[in-house]
């Protein structure tokens, strides 16, 4: 019966909580609570979650101590120290996101490796008006399904690496006329194959598809798949396998010479280079979902990151490490920009969010500019290379770095339409 009053009370509550968030922003002393969300348990934690967290921790530590290289030398985010709250993405993303924001009171969130999580969390982030940076998930649907105010993504979407892959094949392997695909049977795998095959057929219509395999995610055993691929020979085999599945595929394909007789194109192959150098045949095409990891361009910032990471964790940073770091840096860059613009040394979250729109900033993996989907979606360079074992050490030769405007749908265009229209307006030099 008192629904009206209750409604009022509640809207008041929401407002209040919004206010509180701002109020907290205002007092520069208390730390900025940053939710760091990725897979810290289960099969995704090893290849993605933990390296990501390591990369982020490294940057956060440096931000707090003010030891980041230029231009990020000022300590803290708008003067505030970062206090990290880790949340495992492996369970109930929406519920745990709400808990992080509403109960643990994080001011901003950096995270999410799975497209499913991103799709589910985005509306909640909007509802709770909480600045949320997606660092790794690939789906194009996040922004194509509607504009967002509080959600940003600091890395390319999954379509981009497959468009670039198609261009790379065209550029380096004009002898490729038949292709096969082996991709995991879930959103990521299905869309990766769709975008790659469509793109390549756009660029080279005579290309013919031999076989399309979609083994179960985390199947682990690919004997039958390798057989099927070997029996139906193609010039090139595309795979967006990642982590353990990728390693298993490489290990099981190697002794059967699959990628020797048919060129392998591994869009996320970058993680396997060091561990499985002996099993990857020369000529295999390797991607890193962007510009990070082994394909990170030489720069002082990159050298610093690499050195610090090896010092801290005793291993080379793989690309997930780069991308979560890249996401945290976006926050830092925006805070600095906001500070400069507003003059105040302590910009609040709203000012930071405003500054994030369309920002362009430096990362260990090169320049990142949030210039898609009105300033919320990143566009970065994206590199591919061809594997070669040089006296026992894995190297990548004829590396090509694709400029965003060559492989990323222009503002306003839906990626799939853009592919099917034949990449109108693509600027590739």
């Amino acid at each position: 019966m008192h629904t009206k009053t209750r409604l009022r009370t509640l809207s008041a509550l929401i407002l209040a909580s919004g206010m509180m968030a701002m109020a907290q922003g205002a007092q520069a002393q208390d730390p900025l609570k940053l939710g760091l969300i990725s897979f810290y348990s289960g099969p995704v934690s090893g290849p993605v979650g933990i390296p990501s967290r390591n990369g982020a921790d490294l940057i956060i530590e440096a931000i707090n101590n003010g030891t980041l290289p230029a231009p990020y030398t000022a300590a803290g985010i708008g003067g505030r120290q970062i206090e990290t709250v880790y949340v495992d993405e492996a369970v109930d993303p929406v519920a745990e996101y709400r808990n992080a924001v509403l109960r643990q009171g994080v001011d901003a969130v950096v995270g999410y490796a799975s497209s499913g999580s991103c799709l589910a969390v985005a509306p909640v982030a909007e509802e709770l008006k909480t600045l949320t940076l997606f660092y790794y998930c690939g789906t194009v649907r996040t922004f194509e399904e509607g504009p967002k105010e509080y959600v940003f993504r600091t890395m390319n979407t999954q379509d981009v690496e497959n468009i670039a892959a198609a261009r790379y094949v065209l550029a380096t392997r004009d002898d490729v006329n038949t292709i096969s695909g082996i991709n995991q049977n879930y959103g990521w795998g299905q869309e990766s194959w769709r975008d790659f095959s469509k793109s390549l057929q756009q660029l080279k219509p005579e290309v013919e598809i031999k076989s399309e395999l979609f083994p179960k995610f985390l199947a682990g055993q690919y004997g039958a798949e390798v057989t099927a691929l070997s029996r139906n020979k193609a010039d090139l085999i595309h795979s967006s396998f990642w982590g353990g599945d990728l390693d298993a595929l490489i290990l099981q394909a190697a002794p059967r010479g699959l990628f020797k007789s048919q060129t392998g194109l591994l869009t996320t192959g970058g993680t396997a280079l060091n561990t499985l150098a002996k099993q990857i045949p020369d000529g295999t095409i390797i991607g890193v979902r962007g510009n990070g990891g082994i394909l990170a361009p030489d720069s002082d910032f990159n050298d610093w990151f690499r050195a610090e990471y090896e010092k801290k964790y005793g291993e080379q940073p793989t690309f997930p490490a780069y991308y979560m770091a890249q996401s945290v840096l976006a926050l830092k860059a925006a805070a600095d920009k906001a500070a400069a613009e507003s003059g105040s040394s302590a910009p609040d979250m709203e000012q930071i969010r405003a500054a994030l729109k369309g920002i362009e900033y430096d990362t260990p993996a090169g320049k990142v500019s949030l210039n898609r989907h009105n300033g919320h979606q990143a566009a970065t360079e994206l590199a591919y290379g061809t594997f070669k074992l040089v006296d026992g050490k894995p190297t990548l030769e004829n590396v090509i770095r694709y400029q965003p405007n060559c492989v990323i749908a222009p503002e306003g265009a839906k990626s799939l339409d853009w592919i099917e229209a034949g990449f109108p307006g693509a600027q590739c030099d």
Partner: protein
């Protein structure tokens, strides 16, 4: 023809791997009436132990074939040990509980092991690829098969034979069969069931770790592989008939072939084929192909 051959070979390779896992599961169920979810953890533990220890052995550059022996030894040993501890430490206190409760206990153990494994080995992947390429490969027509995989078929056959021999030709085995057939009767006959339980569970667990250990060289050992495997193994034993070793054998061959056929002929079916086969079998034989007799006296 070539297709057919390919399906048969792939099918049997996959089946032998399935069988080694399923056999342990089925043995434990047959004797103890425990559908052991923690079997997935045993599989993972086997994979981790082999990947880490054998991995170290090979990187130390010691004689390769010794490594193969080592794999079997440590896989079986760690399995027997873990099995023993779990049976003595937990399960024996719950033997009078309902079957379903036992499923849930082992489900709890599965969850616990996930993190215990993480605490022991961390989340990074482990590799021990050397043995996989050690035996070279065989050409069948224009196809290449890895001898290590083909050897798996041999190992599975050996396991099957040893189980058959153990159950039918040894005194302990005969006692076990008595327990499988009718536990109450066996107890009244004065069989020391508790001792048999420990032995059974250790052997079953050892088979689980063996399967994990043998597959380790062909995969990256990462968190969660145990969880992935367990439902698959369930499908096999339920299809074949819980508690029956022949059942496990036939079940794994059936599912192995079905999967290989799907991948080679109708890739889009790969995802259902396993549960499809299981569902089909259960519709016609609700207790699986080789169900244990369970007529109730009134």
């Amino acid at each position: 023809m070539m297709t057919f051959l390919a399906i048969v070979i792939d099918g049997f390779i996959y089946a032998s791997w399935l069988f080694i896992i399923a056999a342990g599961l089925s043995l434990i169920y047959g004797v103890m009436r425990i559908l052991n979810m923690a079997h997935g953890s045993f599989y993972a533990i086997g994979a981790y132990t082999v990947a880490s220890l054998a991995g170290w052995y090979w990187s130390a550059g010691l004689p390769p074939y010794g490594g193969i022996v080592l794999m079997f030894v440590i896989a079986l040993a760690v399995g027997a040990l873990v099995g023993f501890v779990i049976e003595r430490g937990v399960l024996r206190f719950l033997m009078d509980r309902d079957q379903i409760v036992m499923v849930l206990v082992t489900f709890g153990l599965l969850l616990m092991f996930e993190d215990i494994i993480k605490l022991m080995w961390g989340v990074q992947s482990y590799y021990a690829p050397e043995p996989y390429s050690l035996f070279g490969s065989t050409d069948v027509g224009d196809l290449v098969f890895v001898n290590y995989d083909l050897a798996m078929v041999g190992v599975a056959a050996l396991v099957a034979f040893l189980l058959w021999f153990g159950l039918n030709r040894t005194r302990q085995g005969k006692l076990l069969r008595a327990v499988i057939h009718d536990r109450e009767l066996a107890i009244t006959m004065g069989i020391n069931v508790r001792r048999l339980f420990v032995i059974t569970f250790s052997v079953g667990a050892a088979l689980g770790t063996l399967a994990g250990g043998l597959v380790a060289p062909a995969i990256a050992v990462t968190p969660g592989i145990g969880i992935e495997i367990i439902v698959l193994a369930f499908a096999v034993v339920v299809t074949g008939g819980l508690g029956s070793i022949q059942g496990a054998l036939v079940g794994s061959i059936l599912i192995g072939l079905a999967r290989a056929a799907a991948v080679n002929l109708y890739p889009e079916l790969e995802l259902f084929v396993i549960y499809g086969v299981m569902a089909l079998v259960l519709i016609f034989k609700p207790r699986g192909l080789f169900a244990l007799a369970s007529t109730r006296k009134i």
